[in-house]
Amino acid sequence: MTQQKEDRRIAPVGFVIAAGLLVLAAFVAKDAVGMGAVSSYAGIGPSAASWAVAAGLGLLAAGTLVSTLRGEVPTPEPSDRAAVLTIVAGIAAMIATISAGGGFIPAMALLFGLTARGFGRRALATDLGIGVVLGLIVYLGFTKLLALSLPQGPIERLF
């Protein structure tokens, strides 16, 4: 609160958030229109809740716009974009590996290695190695002891 009073500048991000909320509201409304009139012998149909949520999101977009113009949206602290992007790349690599049938262990190794790098570690090869070991332990522990199924690839089929 104090932060807001100190600098009453208009933070552009407020407009982006308001626009985002408006887009969400439009999505929900469009979906509700598509439902048509599903007959319901009493009370309300499935689109009513959609309309309520769309209206709510629309109002919140308006509210965000007003509070942005009043300078109530705080400007955030500086952030380290490279770190965030490295971790996002790790998550993306993990998803891609699993989708391509590469298996659980290589996917987890990539996720572990790239996240550690995002947090400032420089020894990527070591961290990938740790990721492989961790992935192996988790894979064996969970599939053998707890009978959960995890994605399989060439490595996992060996066990």
């Binding site: 599903v38 499935p46 380290d80 570690r121």
Partner: protein, 500 residues
């Protein structure tokens, strides 16, 4: 009263079976270990460990959850004291004085007073739960759909608008949660909503995927993004672990006062542990004979809020078990834990599965006792967990988050959702949006909708049915008031500020 005692005795006969004791022990151990990790509160602890319990029998794994829940709370306070990074807002107050004590070389007594205080609070609050739950069930059984709907509206408003510093941001978080709750097939009509032709979305958004994405992935991205700007330091535990006679003398009253604040406030549909912990801190500050120590590491400032925090955690189990109403992020995830076995907490569960409900309540006592016995001797082990280098720690957390998600729902689409929620969680943290309302919105939204439609079907579409029951009318009035009051107060304070 006698019924409760009898039912509880039966509960103990379930919870004291050797296998159940083992489950409780594993839960307590895992909960503490994961809860100790910085930035991880009880909500995330339970969410991360949910998939571990998928294939186990319901009673056993719910007992394990209870252990994880209580263990996560103990672990969280350790982190608040030794590093100044509370896992969740309720431990923030503990960090205030606790971290100062640790810096002054009194980390041991700070940990001890929070452990014993949590035990005392947990014990009293769990007794309260056992005594009052059957009574509330009696009342709840008469609730109609309109009453439930009104109750949920109260929960929506209080969870999102009353806490946090901006109702606008809380409501935004809530509505995004409500929107996610729309996704999937509508249970009453079979209509698909917001699925965009993706078959994986027909089942709706998993609460655990949302919670793990928002809390684990979002937190990791957030910590990484500001690592260069706010490094963390761990305070080593120096000196004696034990509390002196003086420490005991100064702690026992705050424990009891904290419990007296935490349990009733936690039981209200408003939920949340922030208010009782904050009130407890203020009261202790006022009542203490050592006001000069406050802000420099006063033991009362750890003992009171920590007891309030634990008591309110047990309090939130009251609406959860008796009404099926989750009022905190942790409770929402516990509810997801019930639902993964097709169990729905509420008055019916007390009637249909008394063994399970009372076994769970009994196991809360057991988990609580195990924690106080285990934790103080093991403190050295927990502290060593804090020494894991941050890159490996968060990398490990993400591996577990991905593993849990893919094990629960073997589809890359689920992982993409995890990533999207992670980014959302990061953006929300960065711009100061609260996260709990979104989780509560996702889980309570569809429930509120069902109750609303049921109420309207009974009344043949007459909306007046929503306020015909006096209870529903009162609750809706409270919700309206809670929504408007902060705005009014804000207006007033601005008015005052202008005067100055």
């Amino acid at each position: 009263m006698l019924d409760s005692v009898f039912a509880l005795a039966q509960g103990f006969s379930v919870a004291l079976e050797p296998t159940k004791l083992l489950f409780a022990l594993i839960g307590v151990f895992l909960g503490t270990a994961v809860g100790v990790l910085p930035g991880i509160g009880p909500a995330l602890t339970v969410a991360l460990l949910l998939p571990v319990t998928f294939k186990l029998d319901p009673t056993g794994s719910l007992i394990m959850f209870a252990g994880i829940y209580y263990g996560g709370m103990y672990g969280g306070s350790t982190t608040s004291i030794l590093i100044n990074t509370p896992g969740e807002s309720a431990s923030m107050i503990t960090a205030l004085e606790g971290n100062k004590m640790a810096k002054a070389g009194r980390g041991g007594p700070a940990l001890a007073t929070s452990a014993v205080g949590s035990f005392v609070a947990g014990l009293i609050a769990t007794i309260g739960l056992a005594l009052f739950a059957p009574w509330l069930v009696e009342i709840a059984i008469q609730f109609g759909p309109a009453d439930y709907f009104a109750l949920m509206i109260v929960a929506f408003v209080t969870v999102s608008a009353t806490f946090g510093d901006s109702p606008l941001r809380g409501l935004t978080s809530l509505f995004i949660g409500l929107m996610l709750g729309l996704v999937g097939i509508d249970a009453l009509s079979g209509q698909a909503r917001l699925t965009f032709g993706v078959p994986e979305l027909l089942d709706g958004v998993e609460v655990t995927t949302l919670a793990v994405g928002l809390f684990a992935v979002g937190e990791a991205l957030f910590v990484a993004s500001r690592m260069k700007h706010a490094p963390e330091t761990i305070e080593p535990v120096r000196g004696s672990l034990w509390m002196t006679r003086e420490d005991w003398k100064r702690s026992w009253k705050p424990w009891l006062r904290g419990t007296a604040l935490g349990f009733p406030i936690g039981s209200l549909p408003a939920g949340g542990a922030e208010i009782p912990t904050f009130l407890s801190y203020t009261i202790e500050k006022r009542l203490t004979k050592h006001p000069e120590e406050f802000g420099k590491g006063a033991i009362e400032g750890v003992a009171g809020p920590e007891a309030a925090n634990n008591a309110s955690a047990a309090g939130t189990l009251m609406p959860l078990l008796t009404l099926g109403l989750p009022t905190s992020a942790t409770a929402a995830i516990l509810l997801a834990g019930f639902q993964q076995y097709g169990l729905n907490p509420g008055p019916l569960l007390f009637a249909e599965r008394p063994d399970l409900v009372w076994g769970l309540i009994a196991s809360l006592f057991i988990a609580n006792a195990m924690l106080v016995i285990l934790n103080l001797p093991l403190i050295g082990l927990w502290v060593r967990l804090l020494a894991i280098p941050q890159p490996w720690l968060y990398a490990g957390i993400l591996v577990f988050a991905a593993m849990g998600t893919i094990a629960a729902n073997p589809s890359p689409v689920e992982l993409v959702m995890l990533a999207v929620f992670g980014l959302l969680g990061f953006v929300m943290r960065r711009y100061d949006y609260p996260i709990a309302p979104m989780v509560v919105g996702l889980i309570l939204g569809p429930m509120a909708e069902t109750q609303l439609r049921r109420a309207l079907q009974i009344s043949l579409g007459d909306p007046m049915a929503l306020i015909e029951s006096p209870l529903a009318a009162t609750l809706l009035a409270i919700a309206a008031l809670a929504l408007v009051a902060p705005l009014l107060f804000r207006g007033l304070s601005r008015f005052k500020a202008d005067e100055d």
